[in-house]
């Protein structure tokens, strides 16, 4: 490590808290998106969803 290297960034408690909140929001959006795609697929396929060759 050179003398000018500031070293690893240490986040403050507030920065960690906000990052966690952003991560949670992204997780919520992603889960909602998955649920929406699943439900739309079921609705669009209708009864035909069970009609597939095994």
């Amino acid at each position: 490590m050179s003398d000018t290297d500031p070293g690893p960034i240490v986040l403050t408690a507030e920065q960690i808290k906000r990052r966690k909140a952003r991560s949670l929001a992204i997780a919520l959006v992603l889960v909602s998106f998955i649920v929406i795609v699943y439900l739309v697929t079921v609705v669009k396929l209708g009864p035909g969803i069970l009609n597939r060759s095994l």
Partner: protein, 325 residues
């Protein structure tokens, strides 16, 4: 976590002088990203698109209708984010917009651009996959029109910016209707005309209040480009045309007696508010009149669409003799 600052070019040479340095480590909250989507504008888009959906003949599953509405809202929010990305320089100058996430230093321009583009592409693609490609094309065109035609081209070039640019805000009912039917109908076209003609008096009332703000930012709104007297004349002319267009749903046969009576009252009140703006030109009285017209114009459009919603969605459409509803 270190945030890489993305340089995406600047819309004007003076931008870099005004855009604040973004923090190396993001302190943005989910709420800041939501604010980037212009939630108040989005709410009007959602409501007008909902009316377009309700006016469409039944056929689509309610879940598909709800998801289509959500995707239209996301598309509107995405265009809001892209507008803030491009306009960060003037938002920094104007008092009204100084608190937005980019000028406030909470979100970088690059982050706003990435957020806006991702949501634009996502909303358009999934609207196409879930409903049809006509609706997706209309949504994509709406975003393009708002960002490229209005924000990047017209807004800083001509005092007619919001007259032409208002088309972007007028598309949502057409998109909603198209999502349900796969067609463009007379209902969608009429509602487009109504919102299109509503935009100039609504925005010019705001521009009268924020004349200095727009002037400082170098945005050629009608009051600072041609004077407040000409603006007041234009508000009267456009209000007259707008109020006439609000009767088109009756003529086109998709609004009934409740709408007609309600709209007569609302038109009278809108006309009165406009007349006050025309007459009271100076001082506090002039400012109050402009403020009242701006606020009432939002309420009036909301109520016009509420009347349509009540008639189409709750079976309150009663026939008007001679109009065949």
């Amino acid at each position: 976590m270190r945030h890489r600052l993305i340089s995406l070019g600047t819309p004007m040479s003076l931008v870099s002088d005004h855009t604040p340095p973004a923090p190396a480590i993001s302190m943005a909250t989910a709420g800041d990203y939501f604010a980037l989507m212009k939630p108040r504008v989005m709410s009007l888009v959602v409501f007008t698109a909902l009316v377009g959906i309700v006016l469409a003949p039944a056929g689509q599953h309610p879940l598909i209708a709800a998801v289509a509405l959500l995707l239209i809202a996301v598309g509107a929010g995405a265009s809001g984010a892209l507008n803030m990305w491009y306009d960060a320089d003037i938002d920094q100058v104007m008092v009204r917009t100084r608190g937005r996430p980019i000028p406030a230093g909470k979100i970088t321009r690059g982050e706003a651009f990435a957020f806006g583009i991702t949501l634009s592409v996502g909303a358009t693609l999934f609207l196409g996959l879930f409903t049809n490609w006509l609706a997706a094309g209309l949504l994509g065109f709406t975003i393009f029109f708002y960002v490229a035609i209005y924000t990047m081209w017209l807004k800083r070039k001509t005092e007619q910016n919001i007259v032409i640019g208002g088309a972007a805000g007028a598309f949502p009912p057409m998109v909603g209707y198209a999502a349900m039917t796969g067609t463009i109908s007379i209902e969608g076209i009429v509602l487009f005309i109504v919102i299109f003609m509503w935009t100039p008096p609504h925005f010019w009332a705001l521009a009268l209040l924020k004349e200095r703000d727009y002037g400082d930012a170098g945005v050629p709104m009608m009051p600072n480009a041609s004077g407040s007297n000409k603006t007041r004349q234009q508000i009267v002319i456009y209000t007259a045309i707008y109020l006439a267009t609000t009767f088109l749903p009756v003529i086109a046969g998709f609004a009934g007696l409740l709408y007609l009576v309600g709209n007569l009252v609302l038109s009278g009140l809108f006309g009165l508010a406009t007349w006050r703006v025309f007459q009271r030109r100076d001082g506090e009285a002039g400012e109050t009149a402009a403020k009242q017209l701006f606020a009432f114009s939002i309420l009036q459009l909301f109520l016009v669409f509420t009347l349509l919603l009540a008639e189409a969605g709750f079976g309150l459409r009663f026939a008007i003799p001679g109009f065949g509803t």
